[in-house]
């Protein structure tokens, strides 16, 4: 039973994309990764509009004070089990904004992050690779705590 569930989780990761104050480069690259050229539907990856439907929360940007409560709320609104992917240098470390006056991030300061995809912006190939790594983590956890 749990083997079947883990299989299904790996084969059908649905993304929810949250921009927490990014410069939009990472967002554009994420959308590039979802174009027919890369055909991520082969792996069952779909972009969903509602966090209630999603399994993977993809966060771009530094998490500033404006987006901080919204990020927390959306993370809370996602159904368990969920995976968080921090996309881009800003999301992973704060990047050049790490000493800015309004930064509340990076993402792992606010919510637990499973996979980091660095790059400014990361290439679509890197994004797909990161999500595949996230799936491998599900495999390792086999439907564990989160």
């Amino acid at each position: 039973m749990s083997g079947l569930i883990t299989w299904a989780r790996i084969k059908s990761p649905w993304l929810f994309h949250f921009n927490s104050g990014s410069c939009n480069n990472c967002d554009i690259e994420l959308l590039d990764a979802l174009t027919p050229r890369f055909d991520v539907e082969r792996f069952g990856i779909l972009l969903e509009g509602s966090p209630r439907h999603a399994d993977v929360l993809v966060v771009t940007g530094i998490v500033n004070r404006q987006t901080l409560p919204r990020l927390k709320r959306i993370y809370d609104q996602m159904p368990n089990p969920k995976i968080v992917v921090a996309l881009g240098t800003c999301a992973t470390s704060g990047g050049i904004f790490s000493e800015g006056y309004n930064i509340a991030g990076p993402v792992d300061k606010v919510i637990p992050v499973d996979v980091y995809i660095p790059g400014c912006p990361p290439r679509p190939q890197a994004i797909i690779d990161g999500i595949v790594k996230a799936l491998a983590k599900i495999q390792a956890l086999r439907g564990g705590k989160r």
């Binding site: 539907e41 082969r42 439907h53």
Partner: protein
Amino acid sequence: MIDLWVVGLSIAYIVLIGLLIAPNIGLFLTWIHRKLGARMQWRIGPPIYQPWADVIKLLSKELIVPETAHRATFLLAPLLALATVILAFLIMPFVGRTPLAFVGDVIVVIYLMSMPALAAMIGGSASGNPYAAVGVQREMTLIFSYELPFIMAALVPILKARSLKFIDIINYQLGNGPLVFTISGFLAFVVMVMVMQAKLALPPFDIPEAKTEIIAGPYVEYSGPLLALFKLAHAVMLLVVACFVSNMLLGGLIVSDWSSYVVILTDLLLIAVKILVVIIIAAFIRFYNPRLRPDQAFGMFWKTITFIAALALILSFVPIPYF
């Protein structure tokens, strides 16, 4: 009055056909849709097990009821959706035989086919989400837009066969050839295909779910198992719609002779072809069209499509062959 074994038999029938076979065929048809879409966009598309993986994953996820929701209504709506489409499938003849056939079953099926939308509306409304409320409004506008041409198109075979029973309509077509090869039948088919697109909430009529405008319409707040039930209902709905169109206009899903293996095989093949034809037409319309605005859809249904349906209805009274 009703024997216990009849009840037992009907439970077995409902479980076997309704809960095991229908959802699986439906999921397969959704895969065909997605695969066709992928091929039209020059990509490979999802593997064949994709719909099953989606549903199993959703079933295993967390069930969330938001604060603003009315709990009982919110929880019951997806069950209502699934139960009604399965019932619609059970009532319709699939291989020419159904124990649930009765006088006037066409009307019951027409009603049951709008029940998933009703369930989505009630569930969406019960969730207390403003996006869902907009979705409910759009879904309802869509329903009463297509109801008028739909019933007119459905009347063409009903009046030709002079019966409100699927079996009679199919037998009429066995004798006189499929109705889609007559002028009125073809017009009715055109109307019905458009209406079916709206019933399934596929582009150009995916107005109630419009992902880029109102997130997911009535389904915004649904997560995990409840969403899985809605996805299953959608899948079975695809099958029900294909069966309905085939039964009414494409000559019916029937095995005409159960004694000869050749006939059984060719007829089963024909059944598959008929369902696939409807599904493929729906997929082509779906992937080649952008979404309409609600008022555009309303105007289109109440003007152009109703006109075509009225024409079909009037032509069906003309007592000339091939009209």
